[in-house]
């Protein structure tokens, strides 16, 4: 019996008539950091949305902690322990920084992450806690998005385009904090444009191309060229 926390099998997702995901299967173990790479429009965000219940797959199964998520509302899935940092941050613009964080803890799952803990990791957020969230700089906003996801004490954290629009130095900071953030036991899937960086932090990787998996395996098992071929489909 493996420790796999999430199992996706033969997933097919459509937007109207357009198919975005063509039969994807993957598993992730407890505590593992999986990086999901792939060019624009490969279907990474769509996969995340399917896991969270924001889009309904046409076929295939998603099992979280051995239990299917089919037919569950996104709210219910969040309660089960999945959280996402969405692409483009998508903070609530009429809420302050602190309110955004508090809302992240809406489901009140028990666990290590509290407001105080988030402020400890991102001290700058405490200084800005009463500002409207969208008045922060891009990097700070990304911190809020991460903090908001952590507040639900998830067992599986989905990070979509973690370093999108961030200055290199901010990215560096976040990546340095990443092990501390993830701590022990939290499984994580990371989507990242910055392939090299993603490979450095992850245990395994999956590369997607046009809705299919084009390459996957141990993060350190492939050369840069092999990965880039899978990435661009050359």
């Amino acid at each position: 019996m493996s420790e796999s926390i999430l199992e996706v099998q033969n997933l097919e997702v459509f937007y109207g008539n357009a198919q975005a995901i063509h039969g994807i299967s993957l598993t992730i173990e407890q505590g593992e950091l999986l990086s999901l790479i792939g060019s624009n429009g490969a279907g990474k965000s769509t996969l995340f949305k399917s896991i969270c219940g924001m889009v309904r797959p046409r076929s295939g199964t998603i099992n979280f902690k051995g239990q299917t998520t089919a037919g569950l509302s996104p709210a219910r899935i969040t309660e089960m322990g999945i959280a996402m940092v969405p692409e483009g941050r998508r903070l609530f613009r009429s809420l302050s920084v602190e309110e955004n964080l508090i809302l992240g803890g809406y489901v009140r799952r028990p666990g290590p992450w509290t407001l105080q803990k988030v402020y400890d990791v991102f001290p700058i957020l405490k200084e800005r806690k009463d500002y409207p969230a969208t008045s922060l700089s891009g990097g700070q906003q990304q911190m809020v998005a991460i903090g908001r996801a952590l507040m639900s004490n998830p067992e599986l954290l989905l990070l979509d385009e973690l370093s999108l629009g961030l200055a290199p130095v901010v990215i560096k900071d976040i990546y340095e904090l990443l092990p501390k953030i993830l701590g022990e036991g939290m499984a994580t899937i990371l989507v990242e444009q910055d392939v090299t960086r993603a490979m450095q932090v992850s245990d395994h990787f999956v590369c997607m191309l046009e809705g299919r998996i084009s390459l996957s395996g141990q993060s350190d098992a492939f050369s840069h060229d092999e990965i880039s071929a899978a990435y661009f489909g050359t």
Partner: protein, 238 residues
Amino acid sequence: MTLLDLQDLQKSYGALAVTQNFSMSVEQGDLVGILGPNGAGKTTLFNQITGTVKPDHGEVWFDGEMVTQMDASKRCQMGIARSFQVPHPFVGMTVYENILVGATFGRSSFDPRKQALEIMDKTGMDDKANQLAGSLTLLDRKRLEMARALAADPKLLLLDEIAGGLTDSECVSLLNTIREVHETGVTIIWIEHVVHALMSVAKRLVVVDFGRKVTEGDPETVMNSPEVKSIYMGEDAA
């Protein structure tokens, strides 16, 4: 002759500055590539050139006229056409009708129906003429983006990430189309993350980050600059 001249553009959304002191000029017949990290402000730059977004400060000159406050439709009729990064097809219309919109309302065209047919053939969409645009695959949506823009008979064509998600052979045929269009005298600015595609046609590259122009120059030099390697390619400058 300078076709497009951007002078000291500034744009912010609230506290977020997405275009900062941006100046750039493009000569008639140029083929300029723009690259930069996600969220660098490239698309926003296009929006300011086409008029869907008005800059907070600065001027846009096109074909010798100041167009900063002009409507998007007026600018299109002057000869600026674009494709959208997120394809915006008219989902309730067929492919042909989509292209016909460009041909009918774009820069002077005396027989829009015929022109739309020609463009459709040129971009290889003829076999999907009667298909509803809403039912197209991503790839075809992107092709349609370009076809529709071409139908408007532009002097300046703005392409926003149209090679993403294309296979190699598709990419080659796309590059051929772009070259053909360019040879007919159309000036092109192309935003692209597929660097090798961009490199193979662009005469000049402009790198954008945080809404600022980081470097610009001929493709080889730009791509080899340590700055670009680090901020864009995620490679160590060393």
